[in-house]
């Protein structure tokens, strides 16, 4: 593919039809078209409504606990011996990850639209927990679709969702991971069109989801910019975030896209390596296709069948990627790199020991990239990494990967 001409701004997308360059769009069944057009209108209305913004801001502050701190990781920085490493600590949010930012925005939108039932898909369960949380707070019934494999490897989050009153539907189709859960959520939505709001958890799906999820997550980058100016009096040299569907990353990146001196790196799940099919690096190893309502980079075979992929991190286990990331890769604005399961596990343990923070496996991928880059950069350089989730949910997975018997230890 030839590189498009560099635009004046990387922040103008999407266009009226939901495209970021050639990516994005609205590739859905006719039954859903009127629904997503209705959502688009409702979101346009909300964007122009100061009261809506005030309500989001109020909940962000008093319910989620925003702004999340921008934390200088002094011990890790000393350990790596290079650039100063800061964490944007979205793992300290209520529910333990950045997912709540999006869920609060969308549930307010659902209320505004008069919807009375919430459905969501989840991989690691972080989005499912956040969706169940806001549904509980606003008194709406919530059904969460979760791949059967993920139900098994993320049992703490499954129980959390149940405590919050959500109904969990394990999805057995395919490999039983995030993409299968998304298919099943779409099937529910196409069946229950009158009362149901589909609360998508990542910056993917048909327009306007990639845009509105990004907008609700951009609070991360906006706060980060202000906090960095306060702490260092200048913008960082590099941003690093993990990408599965890409919502935490786009949330951090978007406010910085036109700051040309800020280098931006997205970290994909390299799984067992890019040589085989055991990874989820859709940008590094996939090619453009159409799935779940948008054109984007996908892991697929020569016949256009979507591959299952693999990652130790359930939250990165998705064969696609939000369309805006595809655009940012295509234009060269953001660099996307893979990190292997083993490297993420190393980084996970390193952060526990150096900073006393147990990170989720998703940002552990981003951290592994920081571990590679920081030592090669001067001590006057600054990296900000999005620490988008806490690792409580992952201790069993990590224990298993490290060969620890949790019963006896």
């Amino acid at each position: 593919m030839s590189k498009p001409i560099e635009p004046n701004s990387f922040k103008t997308g999407p266009d009226e039809e939901g495209h970021f360059g050639i990516f994005g769009g609205r590739y859905v069944a006719e039954t859903l078209m009127p629904l997503i057009l209705e959502l688009e209108q409702a979101y346009k209305g909300a964007k122009a409504d100061p009261d809506f913004h005030a309500e989001v801001a109020n909940l962000n502050k008093h319910y989620t606990g925003r702004p999340s701190p921008l934390y200088f990781a002094e011990s890790l920085t000393a350990h790596l011996g290079g650039a100063k490493v800061y964490f944007k600590r979205d793992e300290l949010n209520h529910t333990g990850s950045h997912k709540i930012n999006n869920c609060l925005g969308q549930i307010l939108l659902a209320k505004k639209m008069g919807k009375t039932r919430i459905i969501a898909e989840t991989g690691a369960g972080q989005h499912g927990v956040a969706a169940a949380t806001v549904a509980a707070k606003f008194g709406l019934p919530c059904v969460v679709y979760m791949g059967k494999t993920d139900v098994e490897r993320q049992s703490p989050n499954v129980f959390r969702m149940k405590l919050l009153g959500a109904e969990i539907v394990p999805v057995t189709a395919g490999a039983g991971t995030l993409k299968d859960a998304m298919n099943e959520a779409l099937r529910d939505w196409v069946t229950n069109v009158d009362d149901t709001y589909y609360l998508i958890g990542t910056a993917a799906g048909p327009h306007p989801y990639p845009e509105l999820v990004r907008d609700f997550q951009s609070v991360i980058g906006k706060e980060c910019k202000e906090q960095m100016m306060e702490a260092e009096g200048r913008l960082p040299d590099m941003l690093v975030a993990s990408v599965g569907g890409g919502s935490n990353a786009i949330g951090l990146f978007h406010p910085f896209l036109d700051d040309k001196d800020v280098q931006i790196v997205g970290v994909e799940a390299g799984g067992h390596g890019l040589d085989g099919d055991e990874h989820c690096a859709s940008l590094s190893a996939g090619k453009p296709g159409v799935l779940h309502g948008n054109r984007t980079f996908l892991l697929q075979d020569d016949d256009g069948q979507i591959l299952e992929g693999h990652s130790i991190s359930a939250g990165l286990d998705y064969p696609g990627i939000g369309p805006e990331h595809s655009y940012l890769k295509d234009t060269g604005r953001v660099e996307y790199v893979p990190i292997m399961d083993t490297e993420a596990l190393e980084a996970f343990q390193l952060l526990c020991r150096t900073e006393g923070i147990i990170p989720a496996l998703e940002p552990s991928h981003a951290l592994a990239e920081v571990v590679k880059r920081a030592p090669k950069m001067g001590k006057d350089k600054i990296i900000v990494m999005n620490l988008c989730g806490r690792g409580d949910k992952d201790v069993f997975t990590v224990g298993k990967a490290l060969g620890v018997d949790m019963e006896t230890n």
Partner: protein
């Protein structure tokens, strides 16, 4: 340009009855068995044939068709093989319209232009691509028309009078009215409600309207067919295949026969209707 679909609906109109549109998944459970099932459909009473192009992520399909697609993919089905099935069918039947139905990605990866050329050469008359709404007409719908292939649009209970003109704009061959909000093979539609919806659509267009989703028996086919130009049956046929597989999941000697028997039964249903 007149396609086999146009000719067939004209013939049905002069007969004064609705047509039976049968759906099977290409390559289910394997290429040979699927070809045998396909080749016998016209004799069994199918007036038009829809062939599913298997896809790994069939977001608008219920369990029956999901499983059919998985069986086909497991059996090694590809888009190229599906086109070859149509070409093989055309050696013995040059009249029964063939419509390929599925999702966009396998076509996009095959290459839209190459696909349309090969489909046209194989003898494909129409396309139903579930995830290409009118908003994306420039991608495949308009180019398909240039190749003499009908692009058949779905209208649904959520397609209101504001949206209907957009759906009808570039539709050709026939309009596929989805009788329920939901996935394929779900609850049976209410014939009265469907009849009213089809009548409302027919006020706005002269092209034939076929109704599908949830039709399983000859009786339902007759009831739905009263107010429609065609009745589509898919999940019920695909389920017959599933019920007639051996322990290894392979087609047995009576698999094709069982499918054709149900098609004959359904055909008697639609043929009992006089418009």
């Amino acid at each position: 340009m007149k396609t086999r679909i146009d000719t067939r609906f004209e013939a049905l109109k002069s007969e004064g009855r609705p047509g039976l549109v049968t759906f099977i998944m290409a390559g289910d459970p394997n290429l040979e068995a699927s070809q045998e099932i396909l080749n016998g459909l016209p004799n069994a009473g199918a007036d038009l044939i829809e062939i599913g192009m298997p896809f790994s992520d069939p977001m608008a399909d219920g369990p029956s068709i999901q499983l059919a697609g998985q069986r086909a993919l497991k059996g090694g089905q590809t888009l190229a093989k599906t086109l070859a099935m149509v070409a093989s069918f055309r050696k013995s039947d040059n009249k029964t319209p063939i419509i390929l139905m599925g999702y966009y990605n396998p076509i996009y990866i095959y290459g839209n232009e190459r696909f349309l050329e090969d489909a046209s050469a194989a003898g494909v008359d129409g396309l139903i691509i579930v995830d290409l709404p009118p908003e994306a007409d420039n991608e495949l719908c308009i180019p398909a028309m240039d190749h003499g292939i009908n692009f058949i649009r779905l209208a649904t209970p959520t397609t209101d009078s504001d949206r209907l003109p957009k759906v009808l704009e570039n539709t050709s061959g026939f309009l596929y009215y989805v009788s329920i909000t939901g996935i394929t093979g779900a609850a049976a539609p209410d014939p009265d409600r469907v009849g009213k919806a089809v009548a409302a659509i027919k006020e706005k267009t002269d092209i034939p309207v076929a109704v599908g989703f949830g039709v399983k028996t000859a009786q339902q086919a007759a009831a739905i067919g009263k107010g429609a130009d065609g009745v589509v049956v898919g999940s019920a046929l695909v389920s017959v295949i599933l019920d007639h597989l051996d322990d290894q999941g392979e087609a047995g000697p009576d698999t094709a026969k069982a499918v054709h028997e149900l098609v004959s039964d359904l055909a008697s249903g639609v043929q009992s209707v006089k418009h």
